[in-house]
């Protein structure tokens, strides 16, 4: 058990994600958010746990399921919400939407909607760091479904061959849309697959925040010390449909319910109550804090203007000249 304040911090982060996602779902039904919306509910311990091991200089390349990562890495909820509203106040002025968050401050290089498409980019960022002797790493998030893509294979090989400082964070929630892992991979032990490239690997219970914190810490120190890649599999589960269009024909309610028993937030709350680190008052306070933050974000998004239509063709090519 970490020191109480850090434990509370971890819970706070997970709650921020959970409530942001719940609100997003609500706003999707209210048609304030459109396009695809992929929720992270159930997987919070992964993003929060890994974020503890990263430092400000580190970069991240994520997927379309990246709200949580953006938030815990320090992007303001306002700019996240405004982006999903398609407003000028969003991190990408409304051009990216839910699947494409970008941020210079926290070095978030997207938000990629092509499964596997971010892996080579992450390896390239790490190569740039290596060539410039910058002692930082790139965290590359992807689902277990991406492992079947050729780019996974090519990137694993090059990352090890060239010893690139990348944390390959596999968020294994057992399904790629409706395709269960065992119906898509001949070898379902994903660390085995990664290890076949000579990659250092570990797998951890992605529903246990403290386990993720520990595993990510070890992975990241290995990367920093060895200047070599690491593959970390976090075994988790998606409580919600793949996106807002998913009838969920491919899994049973019972299975989902079973996993909800292992809700990372419920489990951690229980732990903290048991250890007397948390009490109802403190929890209530946290929830209020989070509620206020999200209410602010929504208000900001509502109030934010639209990007002028005249600016449609901006950012197809750079406006500034190169440094």
């Amino acid at each position: 058990m970490p020191d109480p304040e850090h434990a509370i911090h971890l819970l706070h982060q997970m709650l921020r994600i959970r409530r942001l996602e719940e609100k997003s779902a609500e706003l999707y039904s209210a048609m304030k958010i459109r396009g695809f919306l992929h929720l992270y509910i159930g997987e919070e311990a992964v993003a929060v746990g890994v974020a503890q091991a990263l430092s400000a200089e580190d970069a991240m390349v994520a997927t379309y399921r990246e709200h949580a990562h953006a938030l815990v890495r320090g992007m303001p909820a306002k700019s996240i919400m405004a982006e999903m509203f398609g407003k000028q106040g969003g991190c990408c002025r409304g051009r990216g939407g839910s699947m494409h968050f970008f941020d210079i401050e926290t070095r978030l290089y997207g938000g990629n909607a092509i499964v596997g498409g971010g892996l080579p980019v992450a390896a390239g960022l790490a190569l740039a760091d290596k060539l410039q002797d910058k002692m930082r790493l790139t965290c590359c998030c992807f689902g277990e479904g991406a492992i079947a893509e050729g780019e996974f294979h090519e990137t694993m090989n090059l990352a090890v061959l060239w010893q690139l400082p990348v944390l390959f964070l596999c968020e294994n929630n057992l399904y790629a849309m409706g395709t269960a892992l065992e119906r898509s991979e001949s070898e379902t032990d994903l660390t085995r697959k990664a290890a076949s490239y000579g990659m250092r690997t570990a797998a951890v219970d992605g529903m246990d925040i403290l386990a993720v914190v520990a595993a990510a810490g070890e992975a990241v120190s290995f990367i920093r010390e060895q200047q070599a890649p690491f593959f970390l599999e976090c075994r988790t589960y998606r409580f919600r449909p793949h996106s807002m269009f998913d009838p969920e024909l491919y899994r049973t309610k019972e299975e989902v319910e079973k996993w909800k028993q292992r809700d990372p937030i419920l489990m951690f709350k229980a732990q903290l109550f048991a250890n007397g680190v948390l009490d109802e008052a403190r929890l209530e306070h946290l929830e209020q804090q989070v509620a206020a933050e999200i209410a602010d974000a929504v208000a900001f998004a509502e109030a934010s203007p639209l990007e002028p239509v005249e600016d449609l063709t901006r950012f197809v090519y750079s406006e500034r000249s190169p440094e």
């Binding site: 398609g86 407003k87 790629a176 409706g178 395709t179 009838p247 024909l249 990007e307 063709t313």
Partner: protein, 331 residues
């Protein structure tokens, strides 16, 4: 077409075509991401796994290049595979197999090996899916010799073109417009292949020809409605097949109306619309009363925000304005 037509959606029409194909030919099988347990990412194959089983309705891993290439191999091996690539956006990962294998096998082998493969994919924007999920690249595929490229805009074509494609000895790509899946309409109870030899004159007119396909066709029809109110009589043509193009229909209509607008959701530069404009230039230059115009997507990666996305896509208003310019403007 029989009298007793039934109500259906474009989505159900696609599903009906798939059902018929699986039922009438044991060599046919469907393969792609989430076509089975999920029911198809657009629900076009819902229930087919249950009815035809996992050998004939095959969920694949995320491996676009390989399951597309396996479709080529299976076609060479005597099967009639239907490969579903969820959307054209992901087909970029399978492009090498399509261009360097599917399209070349027959010619490279001096006529020994044909590839009776059907590849289906959804195409187009308009759903706020942003830059990586809104491509309309069917015009690219129409550039490749060895491929046939179909774009069903109607329920009958959504169902029938699949059956036609399955009778073809060579690779056929079918582009279903994602925004059309919910479209409701009438469908004949008789499930048959449709001829793909001719474009379809959806609306006859005297003053100008609006050439389009897929989802954009309906923008052309809306524009024609508005124009007729203003006394301009537009002919509207559904191209249906993008490769080969029906030159006879295109030129025939333009020779009659002496003016043409092409509506195409692809980016303007290098669009299919450019090809059609160039053909009209070559085959009907002296018949033209005004330069052919193109209404295409603005050349920008598709933005997420609704107002920006709509501004990027071809608009009915732009078609109407162009038509007025052409007809009133001269000739």
């Amino acid at each position: 077409m029989s009298a007793a037509t039934q109500q259906s959606s474009y989505r159900e029409a696609v599903r009906a075509g798939l059902h018929e194909a699986l039922q009438k030919d044991s060599r046919v099988f469907l393969m792609g991401e989430d076509v089975g347990a999920y029911g198809g990412c657009f629900a076009c194959s819902k229930g087919l796994l249950e009815e035809f089983g996992p050998a004939r309705v095959r969920d694949t891993p995320l491996s676009e290049s390989t399951f597309t290439g396996m479709g080529i191999g299976a076609a060479l091996g005597g099967m009639r595979p239907i490969v579903e690539i969820m959307t054209v956006n992901f087909s970029l990962l399978a492009l090498d197999q399509i261009v360097n294998n599917a399209a070349t096998y027959l010619h490279m082998s001096g006529g020994l090996f044909n590839v009776p493969l059907v590849i289906r994919m959804a195409t187009g924007g308009g759903k706020q899916l942003a830059a990586q999920h809104s491509h309309s690249l069917e015009g690219w595929y129409a550039h490749i010799p060895g491929l046939k490229v179909l774009a069903p805009a109607t329920l009958e074509d959504a169902r029938g073109m699949l059956l036609t494609a399955l009778e073809d000895p060579d690779p056929v790509l079918i582009f279903e417009a994602a925004v059309l899946y919910p479209m409701e309409g009438e469908l004949s109870p008789v499930i048959t292949p449709v001829s793909i030899d001719r474009a379809n004159i959806v609306r006859t007119g005297r003053d100008l020809t609006i050439l389009s396909y897929g989802a954009s066709l309906y923008k052309g029809l809306d524009a024609a409605e508005q124009l007729s109110a203003g006394g301009i009589d537009a002919e509207v043509i559904d191209l249906r097949s993008l490769r080969p193009l029906d030159d006879a229909a295109i030129i025939g209509s333009v020779e009659k109306t002496r003016r043409a607008i092409i509506v195409d959701e692809g980016w303007r530069s290098g669009s299919l619309a450019a090809e059609i404009s160039a053909r009209i230039m070559e085959q009907a230059f002296y018949e033209l009363d005004a330069p052919v115009e193109r209404i295409c997507s603005v050349e920008v990666p598709m933005p997420y925000a609704a107002h920006l996305e709509q501004a990027a896509l071809p608009q009915v208003r732009s078609i109407v304005e162009a038509a007025r310019r052409m007809v009133v403007g001269n000739g």
